[in-house]
Assembly symmetry: C2
């Protein structure tokens, strides 16, 4: 889907919601609409990049002058303006652009879940007669249905990420450290085309319970369980997968827990069908856990994935949005038993033929072994 | 400096500014005050962690239930509360805590540069009689003067980061790709104790001009110039350094540009003295560039570094704050000549004996060579 098609889809939504313009301020939506990604904005939050996307008039791109070369090389937007960081305010540039487009009394959708309260106060002061309306759901919904290029990229990202860990497992022996296993995984991710290892959470033994423990110098102790939840950026799209592994061959009890958990997991995945409410996998996992005598303490059972790490739809119990064709999501399941966490997560594509597992085409959930 | 000392320093500031409480919401300030770091919050921005820090009453820590194990293991705050993501609002938890502490009509400093406009609207609605005041400068100022442990960590981070690149350069030959050089650098960073390679921007030839280009499959072409600007997280503290290198031995003209640039750079560093305005390095670099016939197009000449990637002080031309003892900052300089960028950046410690270069104890700026 090229940028013209995307903008047309956005305009359809704008018309339906009576917006005169929409404003993207998060790196994700700026990239989706304007095709330029300000990498440093994630850590340097003040380095705002903004796309003003009017319904009728020409769009405007606003970025920090430090990023000028990048933006010039990437965006299709013709009207590009650059502010000097720490001296000029990106918000004043946005206000000026809205004025120039004749929208000083318009109704403008803007990402108020991203824009800071302080920036928004400044914007309101500069444009007191504009009606600013939160609009994140519109962007989220547009981004949730992936095109062919996005599907290919997400598939490659997920498969490369898993492959990196499996290769690292083969190179690692009991007694090595978590950090060694983690670093080998990161290295293989980069070698397989990952631009940045975004998060790599690993814990073995009791540390497996920490949702977001970084690997440390703990030795990989024979007989223990470990879990890894990790992902990276491939062409500005995310991977996010999780696996459970035993150090040494699994004990019968470990295998039994994993197998029952897998049954729950596969039932959750199978329920991801077009037209079905997105809380279905959660409710099914909850129900089946009970009959399989497994604890269930999930907050959600997965989430959409794309440019963002958590996108629409979130598979939480109270979310009654419906699955749509070409949504791509991470389904994940975890159980805590005997002070250890077992965790699996894969990338799923919603198709007319049901859910397809993109991360692992020969999908058979396996308890991985580090031997 | 332990958490009690930090809280006491914060309370001094609160008294001076007539705050009844301060609220930290950014991962940086939550970590600084509450000693727990929610790693995933950087990419999952809705996963708010909040520290309510009253002047008189006991503090409260609020986090997502998914992070409970991490928070329990890390924070010293006794009163810990957890919300269920996508079902409960962290803002309602904060409002309730403020009410319980008897501050429903108080004056409360809060990071309005971090908190989103939407969250802030919800907070104002829940607590219409609280006077919320932006307070980021207070946190920034407290964090700008580093203690011994922070200095040690930042020094190790900077030196390991540079070491990683120098080792990767030795392993790389002309004709290899930018990506290979970048991946080797990342790998060595991890092996040297980096928890996460946060950004690694590299470009050779014309790509050196892109402020934030990721390394790509461009071959490292003999005779070209390259620059790398990169850093990672070490125990939640950042490294951020930059180097320029030639592929093959440098041409006399390349060496000449680098040497003149270095003269400017060292003059800028030398001016970082206690009590001097922080725009001095910028102004000196600007002036000296002119007399050395070098172009000057800097937006700033550096920035503080710590838990955040850009901290107080920003060395921008209009910033007249003063250098203080034990500030730690990145001084950086870059010139664009013949369509190539030359760039250097090091870590500087402001001491009573003048600026100390932490990143490279035997400091002599060198044009690195990939041969």
């Amino acid at each position: 889907m090229n940028h013209t098609t995307r903008y047309l889809r956005l305009k359809d939504e704008m018309s339906a919601q009576h917006f005169d313009a929409m404003v993207a301020v998060s790196p994700e939506n700026v990239f989706y609409m304007a095709q330029t990604y300000i990498e440093t904005q994630k850590s340097l939050r003040d380095r705002l990049a903004i796309a003003l996307l009017p319904l009728e008039q020409d769009p405007v791109m606003i970025a920090c002058v430090i990023e000028q070369n990048t933006v010039e090389a990437e965006t299709w937007i013709q009207d590009r303006r650059y502010y000097v960081e720490f001296q000029q305010s990106p918000i004043q540039f946005l206000a000026q652009a809205i004025r120039e487009r004749g929208l000083s009394r318009g109704r403008v959708g803007i990402e108020l879940d991203y824009l800071s309260a302080l920036w928004f106060m400044e914007l309101n002061e500069a444009l007191p007669d504009v009606e600013f309306v939160p609009c994140v759901q519109t962007f989220e919904w547009l981004r949730s249905r992936k095109d062919k290029a996005e599907l290919d990229l997400l598939t490659r990202a997920a498969q490369s990420t898993l492959k990196a860990f499996e290769t690292a497992l083969e190179e690692t022996a009991p007694g090595d450290t978590e950090r060694q296993l983690g670093n080998r995984t990161a290295q293989h991710m980069l070698d397989l085309g990952c631009d940045k290892v975004d998060f790599l959470m690993m814990g073995t033994g009791p540390r497996s319970l920490m949702a977001h423990a970084l690997p440390d110098d703990s030795p990989l102790a024979l007989g223990e369980v470990g879990r890894i939840d990790f992902g990276g950026l491939f062409g500005n799209y995310n991977s996010d997968v999780a696996r459970t592994f035993t150090i040494g061959k699994p004990a019968p009890k470990q295998l039994d827990i994993f197998q029952r958990m897998t049954e729950v997991y596969l039932a959750a995945i199978s329920s991801c069908q077009i037209g079905v409410p997105v809380n279905t996998p959660y409710l099914i996992a909850q129900q089946l856990s009970k009959s399989l005598k497994l604890p269930f303490s999930r907050v959600h059972e997965g989430h959409g994935l794309g440019i963002g790490g958590h996108e629409h739809p979130i598979l939480s119990p109270n979310n009654t949005a419906l699955f749509e064709e070409d949504m791509v999501l991470c389904v994940e399941h975890a159980v805590h038993v005997d002070g250890r966490r077992y965790h699996v997560e894969d990338l799923i594509h919603i198709t007319r033929n049901g859910p397809m597992i993109l991360s692992d085409p020969d999908f058979r959930p396996r308890l991985l072994e580090l031997v």
